[in-house]
Symmetry: C2
Subunit: 201 residues, 2 copies
DNA sequence: CGTACTCAGATACCGATAGTATCTGAAACG
DNA sequence: CGTTTCAGATACTATCGGTATCTGAGTACG
């Protein structure tokens, strides 16, 4: 066992290595895509050899999963922030729309998300882990929708879970299209959200 | 030059080879994904060698593009059929919803679409070709929306182009999620479409 | 302290696969 | 019937994910 009082240099340094790899991998996965990013390049650009990758992750899939986790963390924080900054419905929708505009404007992450999602067909590990995370994200969105609609006095006119599914799907779809075609109008996201939250569905 | 009167056996046989490769590649791309499908296996399963692939296509990307074209053809035909079977708005929406339910229920093609889309970042060829096709599809959807809304006397309450972008994005997003998580409720597609077509946006 | 052990990371290797270069034999053509 | 052409086969290369093995600095313990 490690002496708890002293600096656990060994473990510390490994954690740092792992973090460096995640940071570099995140940059490369986002800019080049999953398939086009080789573990060797990631390792070298982080100042290590491929052995370091396999010493910290079971393989490319787990590394990418860690990268996605770090992205999701920021992404969810951004959404929550957008919703809590204002307190009235229209202000919240506007803030969320702006967040969506930023996020979907440079939608590298949705592209990575869906490219990696394709791997789930071959890998049960990726499949289960990805489904787990998607459900968490959908639940978080549904919770926000529920909060916003009740606070705005809309009662349960809106099915929060359905709204969450719609918003997440629309975000992924728009991001995917947008990553290919920059002329795609991201404004439809806010419009659809407005239509969903203001009822009539 | 070939003698036009006689059977141009040479060209005929090549066209047949090309078609066989597309059919087999389509099956394999849809069931295993783009990356997990090797050109060698495609060629062998079609009764040829890899040389036949490179003799008929510039490479894996062009082969997949041909596969996507064959899919798009069927897909568009399905949508048009769903819209023209009925003539009143609700019937059309219902028919379209049913088509969406079938298409998105087994959404292998959306997964292939987005996985292949990720390659566009590395390949200008894929990028331009894919954007071209997406715009055609969006235009086709917009045209249908326009037709339906005017025939239903809704005038230009709905922006057909925006509606097309929303529907296509939602379809891609739902298909992507659904291919990972079978519990995703595809019904939201029809709901959103109804909300879009009946105005209030 | 100093010796034995552990393990993060390096090195060397393997199998698969996209792509290239070259070859071949049958069909097309004069 | 001899020549040319070209669809498809064969052989080879480069790259990459993954595995097996090694090594040396850091840790535990007498």
């Amino acid at each position: 066992m490690t002496v708890d009082g002293a600096r656990t240099t060994r473990a510390e340094r490994q954690a740092q290595t792992r973090q460096s790899l995640i940071v570099v991998a995140r940059e490369m996965f986002l800019s080049d895509g999953y398939a086009a990013t080789s573990l060797d390049k990631v390792a070298v650009r982080a100042g290590f050899s491929k052995g370091a990758v396999y010493s910290n992750f079971s393989g490319k899939e787990e590394l990418c999963m860690a990268v996605l986790d770090s992205i999701h963390e920021e992404q969810i924080a951004g959404v929550v922030d957008a919703f809590t900054r204002d307190t009235d419905l229209d202000g919240r929708i506007e803030a969320f729309a702006m967040w969506a505009r930023e996020g979907l404007g440079q939608p590298r992450w949705t592209a990575l998300e869906v490219e990696f999602g394709a791997i789930a067909r071959q890998s049960p590990y990726v499949a289960t882990e990805l489904v787990k995370r998607h459900r968490e994200i959908r639940a978080a969105i549904a919770q926000l929708v529920r909060q916003v609609t009740t606070e705005a006095g809309l009662g349960d006119v809106v099915d929060a879970d359905q709204a969450a599914t719609t918003l997440l799907s629309l975000g992924i779809g728009l991001g995917t299209l947008r990553s290919l075609d920059h002329t795609i109008d991201v404004g439809v996201f806010a419009d659809t959200m407005r239509a969903l939250l203001k009822g009539s569905v």
